[in-house]
Amino acid sequence: MTEHDEIPSMFSGMLGIIRRDLLLAWKRPGDVLNPLFFFAMVAALFPLAIGPSPEQLQFSGPAVLWVAALLAMLLSLNSLFLSDYEDGSLDQMLVSPLPLSALALGKSITHWLTSGLPLVLVSPIVAITFQMPLSVIGVLMLTLMLGTISLSMLGSVGAALTVGLHRGTALLSLLILPMAMPVLIFGARTVSLVAAGDGVAGGLYFLGAYAVLVLSFIPFATAAALRISNE
């Protein structure tokens, strides 16, 4: 009895979480589609309100798209740990012999795959309504990709801290917005600068470095936050 079967590796635990959550997202597509609709709607309504002048559209496009993307990500964060908390799966994850940070990283990766990546893929269609040239659209997608990785990671700490609270959305936004500001500023500005004929490297380097930074530190913070908020 004392010799038990092999405990799965940390990597297998992470993959297991990713696979399960993708399967759940596939069975309940509403959770994935809602933030996406929000993004597309906000971004598509702005050109109607601004008017048909191409200069104005091109001027405000990057900012509007980035703000809409940030808000859409925030919208989807609340549910990150909520269903696991409510049905007791989170408790089971907490008593797993695998490191909790690996499981938390799996949750964040799935969150990006189901909310960040779809945003990146939809953004060119929305960007066309702002009359963005193709080269700028490419940069927009790149910045969104790096930026949403950071947002998913940062958001998972906020979601972990507020998981036990009812209606924690406002608090969650308040917690992570300060850390998300650099992403918004560099993301939107990089696209604007490229549209104005400037270089792209500086902004992308910053966004990439920020993504690597949060990828390496945040899983531990999320794990600690989960243990605290699950008392």
């Binding site: 038990h4 635990g13 297991g16 696979r19 399960r20 409510e86 408790d91 008392e231």
Partner: protein, 203 residues
């Protein structure tokens, strides 16, 4: 000789209320610790605290003589917890749920079908858990416990929602587990007919 699982002078508060005051116990292979008490007396809180989800005010739990807070992974590798909330995904099927568990903790795959048959849930394999009754969902949680093959079972109200055969089955499975040298911590209000080395703690 230290016991396999022991608790020293546990004190547990929830808010201002002292739930557990100076509780000590020792559990050896083959032993069952039964937690009894009225509703709200703190059985679930104590169970959560033993599982490491709530901090004790003072006192400590030792597994193999080592404090579990410092050796969390050893302890978690040896226990399975059947909590009040089953911790399974309602949108996934029984098999998908149990396969996921195999990613979280050690699980033996060879007697998968046998365990399902024993618990009388082998017909429900392809159904999403949402469409199962509460008692059938408890049986899936039992299947997870049986498949995990770990020495320590933490069971919080294992008889909830189960029919008469189900309750008898839980008692039988527990006795078998104890005979194999396993250990069990159970919170229940029911009368338990399990022989062997049974200790009772009334909260």
């Amino acid at each position: 000789m230290t016991a396999k699982l022991s608790a020293n002078e546990l004190v547990l508060f929830r808010g201002e209320r002292c739930l557990i005051n100076d509780l000590s116990f020792a559990l050896d292979p083959g032993g069952l610790l039964l937690l009894e008490g009225r509703n709200g007396s703190g059985k679930t809180s104590l169970m959560r605290a033993i599982a490491g989800l709530i901090e004790f005010e003072s006192g400590e739990i030792l597994w193999d003589g080592k404090p579990v807070r410092a050796h969390r992974q050893d302890f978690y590798g040896s226990l399975v917890w059947m909590a009040h909330r089953v911790g399974l995904k309602a949108d996934l099927t029984l098999v998908e749920n149990l396969k996921f568990e195999a990613h979280l903790r050690a699980q033996s795959s060879e007697d998968f079908d046998e365990v399902l048959k024993r618990l009388d849930i082998d017909r429900l394999k392809r159904l999403p858990l949402r469409s199962l009754s509460a008692g059938q969902q408890r049986r899936v949680a039992l299947a997870r416990m049986l498949l995990s093959r770990v020495p320590l079972w933490l069971m919080d109200e294992p008889f909830t929602n189960l029919d008469r055969e189900g309750r008898a089955l839980v008692m039988q499975l527990t006795s078998e587990h104890l005979e194999r040298g396993g250990m069990c911590l159970m919170a229940a209000h029911q009368d338990i007919e399990i022989g062997g080395n049974v200790q009772k703690v009334v909260l």
